[in-house]
């Protein structure tokens, strides 16, 4: 790794945060997707991208809403039904079991579901766009 930089010049130290701005600015001219496919601003491609965005937004809001929504319902639940906080399950008081242990696998599962779905709709989008 300590070999000289490109072109045989001795390696030189460069600050890597600083030049990013300019790079980002220059690159803005080129979209992520190859020019002939999507930047023609044809009605069809704009339509495809819009529907992809809509679909991903719906999916994200759905996963977020269901998981975070049900989590956020817990304090209210504990306030309205104080007896619930006294219940014990598997030797632990219910609030501790839910917030200290069970929450985490649920979050991971929800994340996994989201990734699976999001990648699927991106694949479908790619097939639509790349269809000759």
């Amino acid at each position: 790794m300590s070999d000289p930089g490109e072109g045989g010049r001795p390696a030189q130290r460069v600050v890597v945060t600083s030049p990013r701005t300019r790079a980002a600015r220059v690159r803005r001219a080129q979209p992520a997707v190859p020019v002939p496919l999507l930047s023609e601003e044809s009605d069809l491609s704009t339509h495809y991208v819009r529907s992809l965005i809509k679909e991903q937004r719906r999916l994200g809001l759905l996963v977020c809403g269901v998981v975070c929504g049900s989590l956020a319902a817990l304090p209210l639940l504990f306030a309205l039904a104080p007896r619930l906080g006294e219940q014990r399950l598997l030797g632990l008081p219910l609030p501790w079991l839910v917030l200290g242990v069970l929450v985490f696998p649920v979050l991971v599962l929800a994340g996994w579901f989201y990734v699976w779905q999001a990648e699927r709709s991106e694949r479908e989008f790619a097939e639509l766009v790349e269809r000759p």
Partner: protein, 572 residues
Amino acid sequence: MSGTYSLAAVIAVALGTVLIGAYGLRISRTTSDFYVASRTVSPWWNASAIGGEYLSAASFVGIAGLIFAHGPDMLWFPVGYTAGYLVLLTMVAAPLRRSGAYTLPDFAEARFASRRVRAAASALAIAIGWLYLLPQFQGAGLTLHTITGAPTWAGALIVAVVVTINVMSGGMRSITFVQAFQYWLKLTAIAVPVVFLVLAWRAQGMPDLAGPALPVFADETTVTFETPTTVRALEAVPVTGSGVVDGQRLAGGALELGPGTHTVDAGSRLTFPGGSPVPHVDDVAPLSGEAWALPLSGGERYPLYAAYSLIIATFLGTMGLPHVIVRFYTNPNGRAARRTTLIVLGLLGVFYLVPPLYGALGRLYTPELLMTGNTDAVVLVLPSRMIDGLGGQLLGALVAGGAFAAFLSTSSGLMISLAGVLSQDVLRLGGVRGFRVSALVAVLVPLGMTLLVSGMPVADLVGLAFAVAASSLCPLLLLGIWSRRITTVGAVAGMLAGGAPALAAGLATIFLDVGDAWYHVLLARPAAWTVPLGFGVMYAVSLLTPGHVPVGVDRVMVRLHAPEGLGSGGTR
């Protein structure tokens, strides 16, 4: 406290960090080394690195301390820190990576093509970074103080110096490996001791953690008060020792602390007999084990509001933290960014299983911390308290080393982001020298603030940083990514409308003593009103100024949302 091994562990971690930083200087030479190497990092490495950087003082010592003092309401901290990544994953991860932004200001400019939006985002990123550095320094001071008795500024100074050397020499950040290693070090340092602690608790016949009694001193305990402290006793407690209580010198070395509040002067050393109830510092409500174990009974005046404000701040604030965003750039594409985030969710979940155990065991074994108010120290003190001899000291050393690793890695990540933003957007100094000057400025401000602030729980300070991020940069990211109607005017207005009051409220709680006023909770946990304000103003102002939608927004949207590598073999 016998802290020889702990001190050795802290020194080893600090020296190791400097050495690895210096070594990293040699292996990551060129800009392209940095980028190319980092783009081939696998999601597992990347996720470990994100975890290593994210688990800060608040996670390592702060959560356990708050649970110890206030009970299960504080479990929302670890839940929120993790759920924040689910929100990040579902709403931000892939588009953020596809924007090609390296920092939040970069994203702001890439999305809005406006220097003004960029400037506002920069100012907020710097404020959040400083607010987040503060508890890291404070935690370091606390750790060093707990293990050696050194003054609290000493630990803060050590972390500041080590991190500054590291950042200025260019190490640390460039090596994903180091940050990734930090995650596994921290997990080991907090999880291995807890196994022994739980075994020791079982060996003692599993004393009840949620019994009907108030916390009592298990054995005769001598407590040194380092700061003037107001304590409240519910029952009369006989004490011996030396010092000044309620303005009077302890005559004959003995005294009875009657029910009510008492002031104990700094430097007093009081000995409490075993089995006597523990007086509590006045901002920690005395709770029986039963009451402590219940939700919404932690002594907060408006527990429901506080819980919801915390939930909003942590769920939405994670995405706006300056050091979190940078790591997404090292993913090769949006898809990998998503997979990385998913793994982070798992890694955080595993880590956060542990701190509540410390908090609960602390009720039995280190109740005097409820009286000195030094609740953040519970993780550090427990191992040597519960396990006698060398074993306990070595476990204590492991925890102390891990805690220091937490302060160092999070501070390094923050410092790099801060110095980057400062040198580009504020000081406008280019090159290596500009970056170094910025690093100095980035560290001096929070270090100075650390000297002014003391006694605020570490996790609460971090909560404030989350609240500012959730009220300002979160609306920018969420609305910017998912709505094409947001205008430059709306973006700036929304960031300021949410961020400025959250920041002001945070500073007010840190520096002013608002005491028990009804609005205290509105200032200490501002997210519940500042987040809707930020989102609302950003959207409403955007609808009112449709002429200021950035040109080429459709193109930007394509770039944010279309998967990479479409068409002729793919670009990038």
